[in-house]
Every structure is written in structure tokens, then in C-alpha cells.
Symmetry: C2
């Protein structure tokens, strides 16, 4: 009697991929969110039903483990379940499999329900989670915190103004935008030569239309045999919007191998 699993297929288009024809982390997040929306809609507890209670679901953290990011033209299967929850937190998992059934991505995520008026976190109403057969638990699984940037870190920095088309149908900046801002702070020469193997992202404060945000990134040099970048997005008042930690592996150039 575990949580209900919902799955849907999707063929990856060119406009969901990057210069290497690989799906972008931002678009992958859009695809998994679509699956969770389609699941909750199918169970009668979709965004509209939840909004009728004066609340909305908000993601506070994603931890993505990536075996392989799919390529343009591939048909993937996106699966999700509302694994477990307690009074204030829901733990939802996602999986992306390729057409041969191999797992490409596993995502753990933590969600809260927020009052639309007060923007305060509220107790998760039983009736919006019961149809998912989510397990009620004392403690949901803990996700580690992204490592923090320190004073000593040498930063790569870029600024972004929140655009009209960054705002989604809920009137908020689409979550996927933060992934673009975080990763674009890294040089193209790094991004085209490394595969993302994991990303751990925490959302702290929401940014708004016309805000200017600063995306800061650093490459950690003190961890042997692993390639780790730390990221932070800050607002004009200095508040942290998002923190993230990414792990990478070098792309092996097969043509250069004997």
C-alpha cells in the first residue's frame, strides 16, 4: 500500500536542450513538475483545488542524482510519487528513465503548503494529500544542505533581471529559472566539458518581477578527485534567494582515446 506512482512519457525537443543537445536541468525540472501536476490533477487535488483552499504547494529543496541527462529526440518516462509527509513537510520523489528502462535521474524534493495571503507555511491539509496514498510519518527523510560559499572563495558572478517571461501562471518566478541563473554563472568552457552528476538546491527567499539577482559560483579546490561547484543567488538587499551545490565529472572525449 505504498504511495501511488504516476508516469508519463515525453519526447525531448530541441528547445529543451542546450548547445550539446542535452536536456537542460531547468527543462528537466519543468518536466518533473509537469508530472506532479498531472498526477495531482488526475487525483482531483491539482493546483486549482489547492488554490481553492487559499494555499499553494511550494518546493523548498531538490536533490537530483543524475546518471545521464537525456538527449534531444529521446523519449523519456517521468515518474513521481508523494512518498511521505508529516504535519508541515511533504517528501516527493521523481525518476526519469530512458526508452530502454534505464534510470537517468532520481530526484528527491521537499514541499510545503503556503498561505496565499500571508505567505506563511501552514499545516498540510489531509484531504489534498490523502488521494496520493502518501505515507504519514514522524520525520521525512533529511536532505543534506548545500555547502555554503565562504569569504575565502573566489567568485564568478553574473547579474540577472527577472523578466516578464520568467513569471509563470501562478504569478511567481518559475522554479526552473533559478537553475539557468545558477549554472550560467559558470563559463561555457566548463559547462561543455563536464557532465552534471548531482545538484542540491535550496530555495530560501522568493524573487519578484524586475528584481535584480546576483548569481555567484565557485569551484571547490580542496576536495580531491571530485569536481564540485558551490552556488548562491542573492537579492539586492543581500538576502539569499537560493543556495546550491553541484557535482560534475569530466566528459571523456572518445575520439581522443586510443
Amino acid at each position: 500500500m505504498g504511495a501511488k506512482i504516476f508516469s508519463e512519457k515525453h519526447q525531448i525537443t530541441f528547445y529543451e536542450t542546450d548547445v550539446t543537445n542535452t536536456v537542460t536541468p531547468a527543462m528537466l525540472v519543468n518536466m518533473i513538475i509537469l508530472a506532479s501536476e498531472d498526477q495531482t490533477d488526475s487525483l482531483g487535488v491539482g493546483a486549482k483545488a489547492v488554490a481553492d483552499l487559499g494555499i499553494g504547494w511550494v518546493v523548498t529543496q531538490y536533490k537530483m542524482d543524475i546518471t545521464r541527462l537525456p538527449k534531444q529526440g529521446e523519449t523519456i518516462e517521468v515518474s513521481t510519487q508523494a512518498t511521505c509527509y508529516n504535519r508541515y513537510f511533504a517528501f516527493r520523489e521523481f525518476w526519469v528513465h530512458d526508452s530502454e528502462g534505464r534510470e537517468c535521474v532520481h530526484v528527491e524534493s521537499i514541499w510545503v503548503t503556503m498561505n496565499h495571503e500571508t505567505r506563511k507555511i501552514v499545516t498540510i491539509p489531509e484531504r489534498i494529500i490523502a488521494p496520493s496514498h502518501s505515507e504519514k510519518v514522524k520525520m521525512i527523510p533529511r536532505l543534506s544542505r548545500p555547502k555554503k560559499l565562504t569569504e575565502a572563495d573566489q567568485l564568478m558572478t553574473k547579474q540577472y533581471r527577472v523578466r516578464y517571461f520568467d513569471i509563470d501562471g501562478n504569478g511567481h518566478v518559475n522554479n526552473s529559472r533559478y537553475f539557468d541563473w545558477l549554472l550560467d554563472a559558470l563559463p561555457m568552457s566548463f559547462l561543455t566539458r563536464h557532465n552534471l552528476t548531482s545538484i542540491n538546491i535550496r530555495f530560501e527567499n522568493e524573487v519578484q518581477y524586475h528584481h535584480i539577482v546576483t548569481s555567484e559560483a565557485t569551484l571547490m579546490t580542496d576536495i580531491p578527485d571530485s569536481i564540485v561547484t558551490k552556488h548562491r543567488i542573492t537579492m539586492e538587499n543581500g538576502d539569499v534567494a537560493t543556495e546550491a551545490e553541484c557535482h560534475w565529472e569530466p566528459i571523456i572525449n572518445h575520439s581522443a582515446q586510443a
Copy 2:
């Protein structure tokens, strides 16, 4: 014996829409380009086959006439044909229909083939267009030029840095990005209160990764009974990347009607 028509269906996701749950012009362009890629692929003259000749297709102008932009969740049908061509120019049309078969959008576009090395326009090779049953003509249909900004125009201006994720699998800035830059120059209060009824966009010069571009827009005040905005994207050296002209109609607030 007209040109072959190719059609495919697509369900519009939340991440292809804006704050009003309406498909964005940028995403609409992505969808029609996908249809033309799927058509040419199915005819054996897709991007890869064309690249093998050392050339690539480049759009120089789109003219979109919009009856209605579809909404999130709708299943649309995107159709396209390579209507006609001459030595240097190909004229391709697109249609978007809703699930009841009503035309939502009609797009006329002009394409050239460009040499990958020299970036010069070359004669369109017969063998890449013949499978489309495109009609060979002396003159392809003329599309009007977008009205130009003048010295007297009061400009709204925003700047954009070309980002890593703006670059597509061809190594170029995805055409759809120009639509976001053009329209984001207008205030949100205008964009949420008007429907786009047509857009005429000409691409003059290509922008590159890390370029800073300036998007300038003005509302024309000298055309009675119509709402027209003129747009220009310029590069740091002052060259024009793109010019566009948009027509709009006010959104009628039905709840305010008797």
C-alpha cells in the same frame, strides 16, 4: 501537386506559457520550427543532411498573424509546408489550429541557406528542397518590412547578456530568444492587458554568446484605432540584430461587461 503539408500535435505545457497561462510567442516559434525540422527529417533532408553539405537553413523573417494564442493544456495541431522558393530564398508557411480545427496562428517565413564557414548566403541546393514538393518560382511572396524606430520615438530600453542556455544545438542563439527580448522591453502592465495580433520580425545580424544586446521599443501614437509597437535589438557596436513590429488589441474584461 502543391507542396507537401506536414502536421503534428502538441499539448501545451505550463512551462510554455506566461503569467496569463497563454503560450509565449517564443515557445510558439519553437513549436513551428520543431514541425519544420520534423518534416525535413521525415523527407531525408533534415538539419544533419543539410549540414553534411556545409550549409544550414537560416530564417530571415517571420510574419505571424494571430487570431488567438492557445492556452496551457490545449492540444494544438502545427502544420507546415515549404510553399515555394527561388534561387536564394525559400518561403515556408505554418498554421496552428486548436482542437476544434479553428485557425489560431498563420506564419509566413523567409529562409536562406548559409555556408557554415563563410557565413555567406548560397544558392539553395535543389536536392534539399525537392522532397518537399516546393514550387519553384521567379519571385517569392514579399513580406512588408517592420516599421523602423525613428529619432523622435520615446524608447523603452532593456539590456540582455546572451546566456549559455540561449545557445542551441546549432551553436547559435535560438531564434525564439529574440522574441523574449523584444517583448520583455514592454511593461508587464501592457503585456497582461493586450493580446498580440501580429508580429513581423526581421533578423539582420546574429548575436553571439556573452554579447550584450539592447532591446528598444516604442508605442506608436500616430495610428488611430490601432495599437502598434515598434522594436529594435542592437548590438554593442550599434549594428541592428533584429527589427520588429507588433500589433495588439486590448483584452476585454468580460466580468466588467454588463
